[in-house]
Symmetry: D2
Subunit: 167 residues, 4 copies
Amino acid sequence: MTKTENTDASSPAWPDLAGRLVGDNSTRHHIIPVRVYFEDTDAGGVAYHASYVRWCERGRTDLLRLLGTDARRMIDGSDNHEPAAFVVRRMTFDFKRPAQMDDVLEIETRVGELGAASVTLHQSVTRAGQVLCQADVLVVLVSVSGKPLRISERVRAEFLTTQQITP
Amino acid sequence: MTKTENTDASSPAWPDLAGRLVGDNSTRHHIIPVRVYFEDTDAGGVAYHASYVRWCERGRTDLLRLLGTDARRMIDGSDNHEPAAFVVRRMTFDFKRPAQMDDVLEIETRVGELGAASVTLHQSVTRAGQVLCQADVLVVLVSVSGKPLRISERVRAEFLTTQQITP
Amino acid sequence: MTKTENTDASSPAWPDLAGRLVGDNSTRHHIIPVRVYFEDTDAGGVAYHASYVRWCERGRTDLLRLLGTDARRMIDGSDNHEPAAFVVRRMTFDFKRPAQMDDVLEIETRVGELGAASVTLHQSVTRAGQVLCQADVLVVLVSVSGKPLRISERVRAEFLTTQQITP
Amino acid sequence: MTKTENTDASSPAWPDLAGRLVGDNSTRHHIIPVRVYFEDTDAGGVAYHASYVRWCERGRTDLLRLLGTDARRMIDGSDNHEPAAFVVRRMTFDFKRPAQMDDVLEIETRVGELGAASVTLHQSVTRAGQVLCQADVLVVLVSVSGKPLRISERVRAEFLTTQQITP
């Protein structure tokens, strides 16, 4: 029972470019596809471990985009706020199986605990439904001067509708 | 008069993931979209110049994919040939305007001169129809041992249908 | 009381290229310097979080190099063993302060728990003695076919001399 | 007859970190060493072509550093000038032989033609004296707002002492 929501965040010519918000209520999450290119691999013949870190950041950026908050507007303050950005404070990656050149992967992002200035994202990298990597990433909203900022009510409300209920 | 061709190269869930072959005859070319993420930018506030090199490689890889030749099958020789890869021999990049965080770009790839073992690709990075960067990239098909290999008739024929006629 | 050991692992022209093993007994650890270049930064104006992951991998690679085991010889099996590589199984990064363009950083690597096929490395990224980032990285020795391999006695012995004694 | 100049640009603990200015008069040029790590390689088993672009940027950045102009001070304007940066306008790379994991490379940078706001750098990537790659890179000094800026007399004078005389 997966529901895909419409959004204006993507280019009309490339409707899936920012991925999709899927699922209802407690299962709602974000998915973007990632293709493994040469740039993502290393001489071991599989995807380089730091590539997963870049891919998960794409997932978080596009989740925010589909929730109506893009990074450039936050950074330059044109969002009517002090210039700010979500920065990574802590991240844990578990690697289970290697991704390979030409693979089509999906990056799934779920909202976890929500603090005043921070949020934990639970992310997984899957291939044909099989989990290759799992990540927990704690991000904090900080102003350009480095001060933690309270996440706005609008963004909090959006996060809450995407949040996983952990029983 | 742009025609989009169907292909099995993409994942059914993400039909545009490998981009599209568009146009007819002498205008036929390949397009993939690229989103600018934090990973692509630098402290100058715009896209890092080596990011364009990675993006153009995605375009060439997906052009080959839509023409029926993917990189992993070439590399491991499962394509019924000696393990091989297209490697860059020479590349020229002209930077005209900077790309910025969150931009939606299109990478266009056109086939130029075709040699026995080599092909020149003419590529451009555009934003809303405006050219940000132009590149000419000469790639050579080499075996894993480093020997130039003749491009197969099937791939040559495919390249020829995508080739730009230079009067 | 820091002792620097001689090694043939570095190029004679660039004696520090693989960093240094410093300290005695329980304080012995590896240090390499890293300069922050544009490639390491993002539009937020500071170092991109995945850059720390690449830097720590340089530290681990050069620790192995100074212990007499370089990655290429492991990968191609010229080390008289089955082709193999240390792959990352799990990693945790804590980011405390941002690194900036032009900074001179030091990557410190200490050996932690040692399993039959695995080892945990405790790493930190410092600037002028101040910790910017701390990482724990569990790596496993696997053959090219993906099978865990027992770490050789020689490499185990080397790790043990570099291991931190946790009381 | 190679002469190495002293400089305060490097960290005292790591005297070679910014490379060296070597040679006299018409042969004066800059060299930095680069180690090939996993991050620089791809599944083809050799260095990824965009890695050379990153390495050459390190060479240009450290040439400027040894000439007394570092990138951060230019970008934030603390150099007593309008915030500015050298940006790449055009680059050509010729790839002759592949670099491999664990290789020690040297990036050599020579100053070519000098315009009012621009300079061409001639760069090569060598291994044990053998050229792997040659690059010509045209960079332009631009303000943060994108306007070309005249290169200061001090930097021009420094470039001239490092310039190659082309007969």
